[in-house]
């Protein structure tokens, strides 16, 4: 560390109390106060539980969905939806269980089909604008005149809702938490799970935490715990020099939840899933902030440098001539989801020509491309730029900034960022491309904890919601899994015996938290984190083998013993960031262990083993699980669709009926909720 003249620095603005211990007790403890955590807190509190929420940031805006949401997916029970949850069950199967993802999870996606619209109505009751109440879109083809609901993508089947007012959703949730008397612990980073007798694999009885402003220590005791932290994300790329934390994922998502569940002995799965999908760190542009044709920008006209329009085609490659046809299924098709991202042709939607890269190479289209908003019908132009962009997470600031700079969608065509032609393959994420980095994330593709139809993990007393579930969650899945996990956790807490915290375990954690304070001459947390990312990219990257993975484990452990144990810390902020680096090492080890356990290449998981080059051998079409037992790694396996196999019922509906708590014969979940008030 360079000598720093402390006499020139201002004193830390918050009182510093390293080691001061705060004891908190609750019926239901919620770790992570994002979308899932907030819906969980609200629902547990409504069931009479004493609830505490712990968040590294501030609940009022924290989490991946904290800055807004534009699409509300899988709202199959809204009055306009022509697809029932049961029919969606079949479609999701074709879609790989969760949107475009194979090796997804049917439990959370079915729960979302059943409760997504209810969760949105919950938000509306909290004051969130959900409908076109200002009648700005009267007569638009995506608006239902009776309910004033607005829809995206498939205007015929109407199960994805455009949220009018999504930018303020987190503030409304926060106010509801306050109204219900939920105890909120902002700026407290959850660091470990406490277990009965301090034993790995035993019942979870609470957690520890560190206040990132004051350095104070927290010990939480709880009958039931819901893990709703983010999935590990910022462990593959780290370079604030380029553009700050320019990841799609929230900067706080360093994997504390995964690491603490692992150390407590919970069973994890699909952590080996790899991807080069979204967000190349500082090389990317603001998400949705460049010309685009999909997702938030669906289905915008795209033209080339000379104004020549890029054609749209349906799933069969047949030209889609009008703009309005882009919002309808092809002849004879039931419905569609996002363009061609799904592995299943059955639900491919209209998209830009899939051979656009080749046609750019041949000179048929000239770069740069532009999003031609002025040529779009007025209601679609206003919906894309005025409704979706300003309400999607991180995008209100794009709207404000671009408008202030004079951008006018009635006149202006937003440029698409220039990339190598092969990267113009159909995608919603043009703006986030840059030089390919491996496992840069994806908010719904990571691995996570194994769970059942109660959203209960392999540990007693521990439930999951949001991104802590595998394969992760988008906004509506987070909201629905949060509500559902809360019902189960609150029910468990009613009869659970009084939790007892093991003092020795707390003391051990405390010592671990403050160990970095003694360091004087090491490197800082940023250099440490960047170095760990390099290990992940090199040894656990696009192509893996036993040899490189084992070397990676050796490197991580060596860094733990050396640079990580001597990194300097000058205030509580740096202490928290340094502890995140230690988490980073653990998460890296988990991912490498998970990668070692799958001894086969797998295309759905984008998982390449150089030493097992054969793709998708049938005997490996299964989930591989890993967990710690007495400190040793136990590898296991589960069938891919375990949720429909014994002891579970063979259908989604029957399992939901058995477990959801809300269900009464002949009544829907919504009717029961409303009737029960």
């Amino acid at each position: 560390m360079t000598e720093f003249n402390y006499s020139q620095a201002m004193e830390w603005p918050y009182p510093v109390n390293y080691g001061k211990e705060n004891e908190v007790s609750a019926d239901v403890l919620i770790l992570g106060g994002g979308i899932a955590g907030c819906h969980a807190a609200i629902n547990a509190a409504k069931r009479g539980a004493k609830v505490a929420v712990v968040d590294k940031g501030a609940v009022i805006r924290s989490g991946l969905g904290g800055a807004g949401v534009d699409h509300w997916h899988l709202a199959c029970t809204n009055p306009c939806s022509k697809i029932t949850p049961e029919e969606m069950e079949g479609l999701l199967k074709k879609f790989g269980d969760y949107f475009y993802l194979e090796y997804g999870n049917g439990i959370t996606s079915y729960i979302t089909c059943k409760e997504s619209y209810d969760a949105l109505l919950d938000c509306e009751k909290m004051g969130v604008k959900v409908r076109d109440v200002d009648d700005e879109f009267v007569g638009a083809p995506f608006r239902d005149e009776k309910t004033k609901l607005m829809f995206a993508y498939d205007y015929e089947n109407r199960f994805c809702i455009r949220v009018n007012g999504g930018a303020d959703i987190k503030v409304a949730l926060y106010n509801e938490l306050k109204r219900l008397g939920v105890k909120i612990y902002d700026r407290v980073m959850a660091t470990s799970l406490l277990t009965e007798g301090g034993k790995q694999g035993a019942r979870v009885v609470g957690a520890t935490g560190l206040n990132v402003r004051t350095g104070e220590f927290y010990s939480f005791k709880a009958k039931a715990t819901i893990l709703s932290t983010g999935a590990p994300a910022g462990i593959w790329i780290f370079s604030t020099e380029l553009a700050g934390f320019a990841l799609f994922q929230e900067p706080n998502l360093t994997g504390e939840g995964t690491a603490m569940a692992w150390r407590a002995g919970a069973e994890l799965t699909t952590l080996e899933r790899s991807s080069a999908m979204m967000g190349s760190g500082g090389f990317s542009y603001p998400m949705y902030g460049t010309g685009n044709a999909h997702n938030t920008w669906y289905a915008c006209n795209i033209v080339d440098a000379n104004g020549k329009e890029i054609p749209w085609v349906d799933r069969d490659g047949k030209m889609v001539k009008t703009v309005s046809e882009r919002y309808h299924p092809a002849p004879g098709q039931r419905t569609f989801f996002y363009g061609r991202m799904s592995p299943s042709y059955d639900i491919w939607g209209p998209s830009l020509i899939p051979d656009l890269p080749q046609r750019i190479m041949k000179g048929e289209f000239a770069l740069p491309l532009y999003a031609d908003l002025p040529s779009m019908p007025k209601h679609e132009r206003r919906a894309i730029w005025g409704l979706m962009i300003p309400h999607e997470g991180k995008c209100r600031i794009i709207y404000d900034t671009y408008q202030r700079a004079g951008f006018d969608p009635d006149k202006d065509m937003l440029q698409v960022n220039i990339m190598p032609p092969d990267q113009y393959f159909y995608t919603a994420w043009w703006g986030s491309y840059g030089p390919r980095q491996w496992r840069t994330g994806g908010f719904c593709n990571g691995g996570g904890l194994v769970f059942d139809w109660d959203l209960k993990t392999s540990l007693e007393g521990l439930y999951v919601a949001g991104q802590s579930t595998y394969p992760g969650a988008d906004h509506s899945v987070a909201a629905c899994s949060g509500r559902y996990a809360a019902r189960k956790a609150a029910q468990y807490a009613q009869t659970a015996k009084e939790p007892v915290v093991e003092r020795k375990q707390v003391d051990g954690e405390k010592a671990r938290h403050y160990a970095p304070l003694k360091n004087k001459n090491g490197i800082g947390w940023k250099e440490l984190r960047a170095g760990l990312c390099r290990i992940m990219q090199d040894y656990c990257g696009e192509y893996k083998s036993e040899e490189t993975l084992k070397m990676g484990l050796r490197w991580l452990n060596s860094i733990r013993e050396s640079e990580a144990s001597t990194a300097y810390v000058r205030n509580p902020h740096e202490l928290a960031r340094t502890l995140e680096c230690l988490t980073h090492i653990t998460v890296g080890e988990i991912i490498m262990q998970a990668s070692l356990a799958r001894k086969a290449s797998n295309s759905a998981l984008e998982f390449n083993r150089l030493d097992y080059p054969e793709k998708d051998p049938p005997e490996w079409n299964k989930l591989v699980t890993i967990k710690l037992e007495n400190g040793d790694i136990q590898v296991g396996e589960m069938p891919h669709n375990y949720w429909l196999l014994p002891p579970n019922a063979p259908t989604y509906e029957e399992n939901y009926k058995r477990h959801c708590i809300l269900y009464k014969a002949g009544r829907t979940a919504t009717a029961h909720m409303e009737g029960g008030k």
């Binding site: 805006r61 700050g244 700079a405 004079g406 006149k411 440029q415 960022n417």
Partner: protein, 113 residues
């Protein structure tokens, strides 16, 4: 010849100008400090003054500080230079960009909702 006093200082942090305060409009209420997910800002030791942007390199550009600021226009969030985007005016072929000198007049149309 220009004689000016110089200092030995560390290199500037990049990106270093994520969040700008208008000192005339900012009341120093610290709402932005409270809502920031990454704890990028700290309260100014001088009461009533704009917060100090201590960790601009940790900004995620979520914009919540500006959205939740009770005084319109007191906070401006700027994406760093390597994230600035351009557009073409369809009728005239003019090219504009975020951050250009002499930009076109602002578009004041509010969002839906």
């Amino acid at each position: 010849m220009m004689k000016k006093k110089a200092f030995m200082v560390p290199n500037p942090m990049t990106p270093g100008q994520a969040i700008h305060f208008d000192p005339e409009l900012c009341t120093g209420c610290n709402t932005c400090v409270d809502v920031c997910r990454s704890d990028v800002m700290v309260p100014n030791p001088e009461k009533g003054k704009p917060p100090i942007v201590l960790y601009p390199d940790e900004c995620w550009f979520c914009g919540c500080c500006a959205s939740d600021c009770p005084v319109s226009g007191a906070i401006r969030v700027e994406h760093p230079l390597n994230q600035r985007v351009g557009w073409k005016r369809k009728e005239t072929g003019e090219y504009f960009r975020i951050g250009m000198k002499n930009p076109p007049p602002p578009n004041t149309k509010p969002p839906v909702g």
